[in-house]
């Protein structure tokens, strides 16, 4: 038999029907639902008098709009409140499992899913959210979809898809001290560009990946979409299986053993052919900081803000110039000289327990710098929050001057009150530094949790390799 990539295996095992031009009806095992991209889909079903195909395939939570302050007060913004209430009503009407705003298991959809064990290896996972790529960390074919496709998945348990090409990013060597999965993700994007993965399913492999925790792997796959790849995928190993064991929705007993036997097959075959291979030496990666308005506008912490005069390509030069104006930065400024106004630790990229532990270890016994107006820690889910509190991390953050909040997407995209004001500069552990992403006129620098935490203490970016 021809050796197959993991993506080929996942694809082949979900094909229901193929049109003449290769357009494929692909079966959907798991559909995650949240309040922003689902109301129009449910409305569409109602108008066309269609039913849900398989109710138990859907799991919902409210995350984008929810306040991160005291939930007893409800949602003050009427438009946001209506959207969250609409999700509640739709889930109630159709019998969909929902972890609503006041459920202890509520959280960012991409944190809640794996935590509950509703994401299992070999699944196709879809959600009306581009960061669905996160779940590829479990050897799932997981990708974001638009609202029309949300409706399609609800009504048919399938999606119409064209097969992507295979790309392998092979990472070898140990990550140096102070360098994390987030830095690796940003370094990969810096190398291949934000459109580098367009048209590909991106498998991440190599010894470095095998040494990463599931949290780290989720961070990497989460950012695959920022490299243009709809899906990032990582093979199953002991770490994957260990993570899943005992999760509420994971199989148990005999079923567990049967599942594990199957999951072990979810790796690329040894001689599988990839259309493109990128090799990365983990040992050369330094802590990363973005300087511009696209995740590919990234440099190492010991580097400087780029100089547009050195860029030969016209469109790129204009892009750099425009980004520097928006970001309020001068060319050739050392990254460590950039002073900050706010710090955000959270988002589906970096809000899991390991991220919070790493950030807390940087700030223990220290104080947030006086120029930092707000330093926020927003756990990814209610369960992450509870775990962190059991470990005393909340105390460490609070004692250092951070605010400890309720779970949600929060300032990653500022759909709730957590936003940057115009001109404010933020060190953020999120995934997008687009213009206005965290608030109109806000300036975002993407970094790891360690880098964000250290920057909060110093008041400017610092090289965490020299921290303490």
């Amino acid at each position: 038999m021809t050796p197959q990539t993991l993506y080929d295996k996942l694809w082949d095992s979900h094909v229901v029907h193929v049109e003449d031009d290769g357009t494929t009806l692909l079966y959907v095992d798991r559909h995650l639902v949240h309040e922003v991209t689902s109301p129009q889909a449910f409305e569409g079903l109602k108008l066309s008098r269609r039913k849900l195909w398989r109710i138990s395939a859907n799991v919902a939570t409210a995350d984008h709009n929810v306040p991160t302050t005291d939930r007893k007060l409800g949602i003050s913004d009427a438009v946001s409140r209506l959207q969250v209430e609409t999700l509640d009503a739709n889930c109630r009407e159709h019998g969909i499992v929902e972890f609503g705003m006041n459920d202890p298991r509520q959280g960012i959809v991409h944190v809640m899913g794996p935590e509950q064990g509703v994401i299992l290896p070999g699944m196709t996972v879809v959600c009306g959210d581009s960061h669905t790529s996160t779940h590829g960390a479990f050897a799932c074919l997981a990708f974001g979809i638009g609202t029309s496709e949300v409706e399609h998945a609800l009504a048919t348990q399938c999606l119409l898809q064209k097969k992507s090409r295979n790309m392998l990013v092979q990472v070898e060597g140990a990550l140096p001290r102070g360098v994390t999965a987030k830095d690796l993700a940003l370094a990969i994007i810096g190398r291949i560009g934000t459109a580098g993965g367009t048209g590909y399913a991106l498998e991440l492999g190599g010894g470095t990946l095998r040494a990463l925790s599931m949290e780290g792997r989720m961070t990497l796959c989460n950012m695959a979409i920022e490299a243009g790849a709809r899906a990032g995928i990582i093979a199953v190993d002991d770490t994957t299986i260990e993570y899943l064991k005992g999760r509420p929705y994971a199989p148990t007993g005999q079923m567990w053993s049967r599942a594990v036997d199957y999951w072990r097959t979810l790796t690329s075959d040894v001689h599988a052919k990839f259309d493109r291979v990128v090799q990365i030496d983990a040992g050369t990666i330094k802590p990363q900081v973005t300087w511009g308005t696209s995740p590919e506008m990234v440099v190492a912490i010991d580097d400087r803000v780029p100089d547009p005069d050195r860029e030969k390509d016209g469109v790129r030069r204009e892009g750099i110039e425009r980004a520097l104006v928006y970001m309020g930065l001068e060319p050739n400024t050392p990254m460590t000289a950039i002073r900050l106004d706010k710090v955000f630790i959270g988002s589906c990229t970096n809000s899991r327990i390991e991220d919070l532990r790493a950030a807390a270890s940087m700030v223990r016994g220290k104080r947030v710098a006086p120029n930092i107006r707000l330093a926020l820690v927003v756990p990814g889910s209610g369960l992450v929050k509870a775990q962190a509190e059991r470990e005393g991390l909340d105390r460490i953050f609070r004692d250092s001057g951070f605010e400890w909040r309720e779970p949600g997407c929060s300032m990653c995209l500022g759909m709730n009150e957590d936003q940057l004001q115009s001109g404010e500069r933020c060190a953020s552990t999120s995934n997008r530094n687009f213009e206005g992403r965290q608030g109109a006129g806000g300036r975002t620098h993407l970094v790891s949790p360690e880098m964000a935490a250290a920057a909060a203490i110093a008041g400017h970016f610092v090289d965490v390799r020299q921290w303490r």
Partner: protein, 212 residues
Amino acid sequence: MEKFNVLNGLVAPMDRANVDTDAIIPKQFLKSIKRSGFGPNLFDAWRYLDQGQPDKPNDNRLLNKDFVLNQPRYKGAQVLLARKNFGCGSSREHAPWALEDYGFRALIAPSFAEIFFSNCFKNGLLPIVLDESKVDRLFHEVLAFPGYRLEIDLERQIVTKPDGETLAFEIDPFRKYCLLNGLDDIGLTLRHAEKIRNFEDKRKLDQPWLFG
């Protein structure tokens, strides 16, 4: 969904790479539970000098006169000419909804982000990929000639310039068929309901833990 056949439309140039979905429709408008009415807030942060809100009327807002779509010569444009990786970022279908609601029916760029690209077809919006050099020429011509229009023939897969030059483009036959006929994907898929059920039955036997 509206059928797409032949379009002869005024062209507006969006001369920057990596235009993301946050720029196309900022997040505050995503709170809506409707799928229409996003047109007045398309490119909101670039188009206006003040900040838009979902419940705020747009009629008396301060326009950014420098923004390309606010220039009188591009009023009524139906074709948006763009640079590479247009529509990158989030999966929000509000982006194509806003473009369509504004009046655009076709987009031309050297490349599009995948989710956005797919979302366009679900809304009768035709995204056309052309070589970077050809797109570059179109940018020069649009800027040089006020009233510059392109004719887009989906059936023949051809873009015709005012000087008669034609540019061929590729499109998946299935997507073309759906767009030409204004077909609803769900209805098409449900023709295969029996196949889906059979697939599902087999899956229940092979991987019962997925159906717990």
